[in-house]
């Protein structure tokens, strides 16, 4: 009952419409599978674990414009005030905020300058012994800073000699064993690794190594400074609302700004990527819709062009189901061939994108999944017109027009 051979012959004899549709299907598959892959890649990036309870942490920055204020004392007071607020778990002063897109990084070496040895780049925070608790970072090995290790200063005369690093950084610098107790060098200055914490992300999520983070016990008290605060679940908003007023009470000759939840900082950092991803989604939806409409239209056109033929086939003994099957199989042949060509195109396009935009290489699973999806979509699009064809009355065959 399958009429493959005559069907293929008939397609080959009047092929313009079919070829156009085939090209459309092929191009759509090439674009859709690559776009789907890029979306998935973006989604992985956007949804990456940061290591923080982003909804419980917020940051605030301060700019002090009166040089007579003793910043070391004032910031210590501020930290105490912050921790005393009802609902605050801990607070720490820091030079930069995680996930904000702004920070400092430096290469950490196994040997001091100017010797040449292995170096690994890491973002660093200068802060104090409250930082781990404030971030909710989990200590895997070693210990937290002792309060007496923290350097409180408004200049770089005295530098800390200990550090806590993420396991990601530790594993990169010491792939063959524990980094705990080892010494590393920032330029000529040596610091000992006294603790290793579980993965947390630094300021840049789009960094090739976003979790290479190093923490120094160094409360650098400069006119511009920042604080991180972690609150109990659900209490962040109320703390954020009153924090400015409270801190201004102890010293009013300064300005607070950037009071922002960690999730909000992350969202604004990722805003462009989120937008690009949404545009890709829209692109895919539009492309697939246009192709579906193309299939729908071509099948409908074929059917109205062949009304007499359908009636004749019915008169000659075709059941309704045979007519539906005819159009679905015809559509399947065109779409199937288009998808095969499209898969090859997708791979080629993927390679070009990889070269030109340094994207990761296209996984064939995406091509396959997109092809299966488009095949189903093409059958759905052809289904309605095919049912309509089956309704053509056999008596059409005897009409002379």
């Amino acid at each position: 009952m399958l009429e493959l051979k005559p069907m293929i012959n008939a397609l080959l004899r009047s092929k313009i419409g079919a070829v156009l549709l085939l090209i459309q299907v092929a191009i759509t598959l090439a674009i859709v599978s690559n776009a789907a892959f890029m979306i998935s890649d973006r989604l992985t990036y956007l949804n990456q674990e940061t290591g923080y309870d982003e909804e419980a942490i917020f940051s605030l920055s301060v700019s002090t414009f009166d040089p007579s204020i003793n910043l070391v004392q004032q910031y210590a007071q501020d930290e105490r005030d912050l921790r005393a607020i009802d609902g605050v778990i801990d607070a720490a002063m820091t030079n930069w905020m995680p996930l904000s897109g702004s920070g400092s990084s430096s290469s950490m070496h196994l040997v001091p300058n100017p010797e040449i040895g292995t170096g690994v780049r890491a973002a660093y925070f200068t802060t104090n012994e409250h930082m781990l608790n404030t971030l909710g970072a989990k200590l895997i090995e070693g210990r937290n800073f002792y309060p007496e290790e923290v350097v409180h200063a408004d200049n770089y005369d005295k530098l800390p000699n200990t550090t806590i690093v993420t396991k990601d950084f530790a594993e990169e610098l010491y792939p063959d064993g524990s980094a705990l107790g080892k010494v590393l060098y920032q330029g000529e200055d040596a610091v000992e690794i006294i603790g290793i914490i579980d993965t947390i992300k630094g300021p840049w999520l789009n960094d090739s190594r976003p979790a290479n983070v190093v923490i120094f016990p160094f409360n650098l008290s400069q006119p511009r400074a920042g604080f991180l605060v972690r609150t109990e679940p659900g209490k962040r908003a109320q703390v954020m609302a009153k924090v400015e007023e409270l801190l201004l009470k102890s010293e009013s000759r300064r300005v607070f700004y950037g009071i922002e939840g960690l999730d909000e900082s992350k969202a604004s950092y990722l805003a462009r990527d989120t937008l690009v991803m949404r545009m890709l989604v829209v692109l895919i939806v539009v492309l697939v819709l246009v192709t579906a409409l193309g299939i729908f239209g071509l099948t409908l056109f074929n059917i109205s062009k062949r009304t007499k033929q359908i009636g004749t086939r019915r008169a000659l003994g075709a059941r309704k189901s045979a007519i539906v099957r005819y159009f679905l199989i015809e559509n399947f042949l065109v779409a199937g061939l288009g998808l095969l060509i499209g898969a090859a195109l997708a791979v080629l396009l993927g390679q070009q994108l990889m070269k030109v935009f340094s994207l990761p290489s296209l996984s064939f699973t995406f091509v396959l999944a997109s092809a299966v999806f488009m095949l189903i979509m093409s059958l759905v699009a052809a289904w309605g017109p095919a049912l309509r064809a089956a309704k053509v009355a056999p008596s059409i065959a005897t009409r002379s027009i």
Partner: protein
């Protein structure tokens, strides 16, 4: 072969009700060759559509080869058309994208006949209509007469008991018309029942039995002298009707 009893066909639109066939009665015996004539709009085509199960009727009974057609569902009617009836259409109705071989093959595929048997039948039937050498040609490469011969080959390939021809020579010149008619007569001599709708009196005269449809009914022959006989033709009846 065909037994129609009080067949009525009513086309209903919002504004009007049209009685295309009115208490239509007809019996056709196995092996007959009948020409159906009648003026335009008389119900000839409706009769043909109902006889060929191409459309349902409103009331009455119709038996085809002993099968009560009114009790069949759509699939059963399709199968019965495929097995018992060979259609020959005025416009040939060949499928333009299929070559002659594939065109003749269409009804055989719907019947699920195996490929080797199909080949045998198609070659024989194309040979019979004198187009055996042109199996790979497309319909548009053929003259009208040749196309109609292909359509006859398609109708014959299923070895039907009953051939329904709708103005089979309507689109042909007289020479080609004669050729087609000769083929039909030949088929009839070999035992097939043929019902041919035509408005060509000359063609109708060649058929052993003539019936005329007027206003959705068989013309009442009792109005004229004696019952219709085999010599009586549509032309004669029309002439006498004019006299009366």
């Amino acid at each position: 072969m065909i037994k129609m009893n009080n067949i009525n066909k009513v086309y209903q639109t919002e504004m009007v009700q049209t009685h295309a066939l009115r208490d239509f009665n007809l019996e056709v015996e196995q092996g007959e060759f009948i020409a159906v004539t009648g003026p335009s709009g008389s119900g000839k085509t409706t009769f043909l559509n109902i006889a060929g199960m191409l459309e349902p009727f409103s009331s009455g009974t119709y038996e085809l080869d002993g099968i009560d057609v009114g009790k069949l569902n759509d699939n059963q009617r399709a199968d019965l058309r495929n097995q018992k009836i060979g259609f020959i259409f005025q416009g040939f109705n060949l499928i333009p994208d299929l070559n002659l071989y594939e065109n003749v093959e269409v009804p055989l595929r719907y019947r699920g006949i195996k490929s080797a048997e199909r080949r045998k039948r198609i070659e024989r039937c194309l040979e019979l209509v004198g187009l055996g050498a042109r199996a790979k040609h497309l319909p548009q490469q053929l003259s009208g007469g040749q196309q109609q011969r292909v359509a006859i080959a398609r109708a014959l390939a299923g070895e039907p008991r009953f051939l329904l021809a709708d103005e089979p020579t309507g689109n042909l010149d007289s020479l080609m018309a004669r050729q087609v008619m000769e083929i039909l007569e030949e088929i009839n001599r070999e035992g097939a029942t043929i019902v041919m709708v035509t408005h060509d009196p000359e063609l109708a005269r060649r058929a052993p039995r003539n019936i005329q449809v007027v206003d959705g009914q068989l013309a009442d022959f009792s109005l004229y002298q004696g019952a219709p006989n085999k010599e009586q033709t549509a032309g004669d009846i029309a002439a006498r009707a004019a006299e009366a």
